[in-house]
């Protein structure tokens, strides 16, 4: 009976739950789904992380390669993110060139990296004007159930913390780069940006961490990316119903608490990795 009603009138079905201040999966309006993170699972990558936010699963693999720095910025390396939403994660995506959603997500991740200054591009330079590291960050969604931006940001952060770059010296005589694979060091991660996404319902209600169905029924979305000092790297609101200043403030305070939760989870995982 309930399943029939849900198919015929999904929005009404949803509103019944929202009236009682909860959602069909039993969560409260401000509650996140269970977040799990697994670091270093891809051995062929220089750094990797798998993040699961409820059913949404995103894996990030980072490969480091050599490149010549650009003439405008001879002392900077590159960080190239790419978000891939393959058909396996959801039936709404087709194979072929990246669709709009994937492109927008890639642009969002690139903006987060740029704005938050998570790593200094100068740290990636080996020899100014001649050689620099380029980090190719590939984020692949394995299961799409809403809130892809949060999962991608977290996966990227966790993978970057896992990246180990070998020491590179330029041989003076041959002018070739010599890579010492035995000596590896971690990247200097300066800030920890954490994304918190909200969905707006009926122009008034805000729910945190929307699932795939909730995103579809929502009238607007908002993603806030915050670092540990409470500074905002990104306030991404791609249209949708309007928000007053007060509602925006509520979102920002929720983002602050989420940042603490995520940071704690990450520190635990890193500690357990180092213990091995």
């Amino acid at each position: 009976m309930a399943a029939g009603f849900k198919t015929v009138e999904p929005l009404e079905y949803y509103r019944r739950f929202l009236k009682e201040n909860c959602r069909p999966d039993g969560r409260e309006l401000g509650e996140f789904r269970t977040t799990t993170v697994n670091i270093g699972s891809v051995s062929t990558a220089d750094g990797s992380a798998l993040v699961k936010l409820g059913n949404t699963a995103v894996i990030c693999g980072i490969k480091a390669e050599f490149a010549a720095p650009s003439p405008e910025a001879p002392d900077k390396g590159y960080v190239v993110p790419n978000v891939d939403l393959p058909p396996l994660c959801s039936s709404r995506f087709r194979s072929g060139p990246p669709g709009e959603e994937a492109q927008v997500a890639s642009q969002f991740i690139a903006d987060v990296i740029e704005n938050s200054q998570i790593i200094l591009k100068e740290d990636l330079c080996i020899s100014p004007g001649k050689l620099a590291w380029v980090l190719y960050c590939d984020l692949i969604c394995l299961d799409y159930d809403g809130n892809i931006l949060d999962a991608c940001t977290f996966a990227l952060l966790a993978a970057l913390k896992n990246v180990q770059l070998p020491e590179v010296t330029i041989n003076e005589e041959t002018a070739l780069a010599e890579v010492n694979l035995k000596k590896k060091h971690y990247l200097n991660i300066r800030t920890h940006p954490v994304a918190t996404s909200f969905a707006v319902f009926d122009d008034t209600l805000l729910i945190v961490d929307p699932t795939g169905e909730e995103e579809h029924l929502a009238t607007g979305t908002l993603t806030v990316v915050m670092d540990e000092e409470g500074k905002l790297c990104c306030l991404h609101k791609p249209g949708g119903s309007g928000l007053t200043g007060a509602k925006l403030q509520d979102c920002l305070s929720r983002a602050v608490t989420r940042h603490k939760e995520v940071k704690k989870l990450m520190d635990e995982v890193i500690k357990s990795m180092k213990a091995k």
């Binding site: 492109q103 740029e114 704005n115 991404h236 791609p238 309007g242 200043g245």
Partner: protein, 193 residues
């Protein structure tokens, strides 16, 4: 009807870095430029353009009463003639005016306002391209005309919560000027024809 419709209205003062109040640059509006009211979104190459297109499209979708025109495709062409800073805000203003000119029913008008925060925290509204480049953070908002709610926001750079509130308040005050300009511009146009 192109001759009647070419109305230029100037409004605003040059941007001054001192006053955090409403200091917007000159802006002008030309209506009914295209004799054929159809167009297509300028599909430029690049991922950044796709992202910008989506922002504008979603803002319009929230405001346009699509239910009154089923099975209709409303396409918006935006051609950048010159970029002197605050491009996104200009695109949003142009889009709103074009939708009004086309007679598309909307629940509210919207306008775009850009704020730039420089390294010592001073707020500059409607920054020039140079100011945008040197700024620590650039925030662009789309606000609606009914109660200045935030429809769209896209930001670049790092800023604190307090600075965000300050920018939003300044943008809301500035949006009043933009809406007044819309009203005057339309009044002038319709009073002549």
């Amino acid at each position: 009807m192109q001759s009647d419709a070419k109305i230029r209205t100037e409004y605003g003062t040059d941007s001054s870095p001192q006053s955090p109040g409403c200091s917007l640059r000159h802006f002008a509006c030309e209506q009914n430029l295209l004799s054929r009211p159809d167009g297509s979104a300028s599909f430029l190459q690049g991922v950044a353009e796709k992202s910008r297109e989506r922002l504008i499209r979603n803002t319009c979708e929230a405001v346009v009463l699509g239910a009154l025109h089923p099975r209709t495709s409303i396409t918006i062409v935006l051609q950048v003639i010159s970029d002197a800073g605050s491009l996104m805000a200009c695109c949003l203003n142009a889009t709103c005016m074009a939708l009004v000119d086309a007679g598309v029913p909307m629940q509210a008008l919207f306008c775009g306002v850009t704020c730039a925060l420089d390294s010592d925290g001073t707020l500059v509204l409607d920054p020039t391209a140079k100011q945008e480049k040197e700024a620590r953070a650039v925030l662009t908002f789309a606000l609606d005309s009914v109660d200045q709610k935030l429809l769209m926001s896209t930001t670049k750079g790092l800023y604190s919560n307090a600075e965000l509130q300050q920018c939003l308040a300044a943008a809301q005050a500035a949006s009043q000027h933009v809406f007044r300009f819309y009203r005057e511009s339309l009044q002038r146009r319709y009073s002549k024809s």
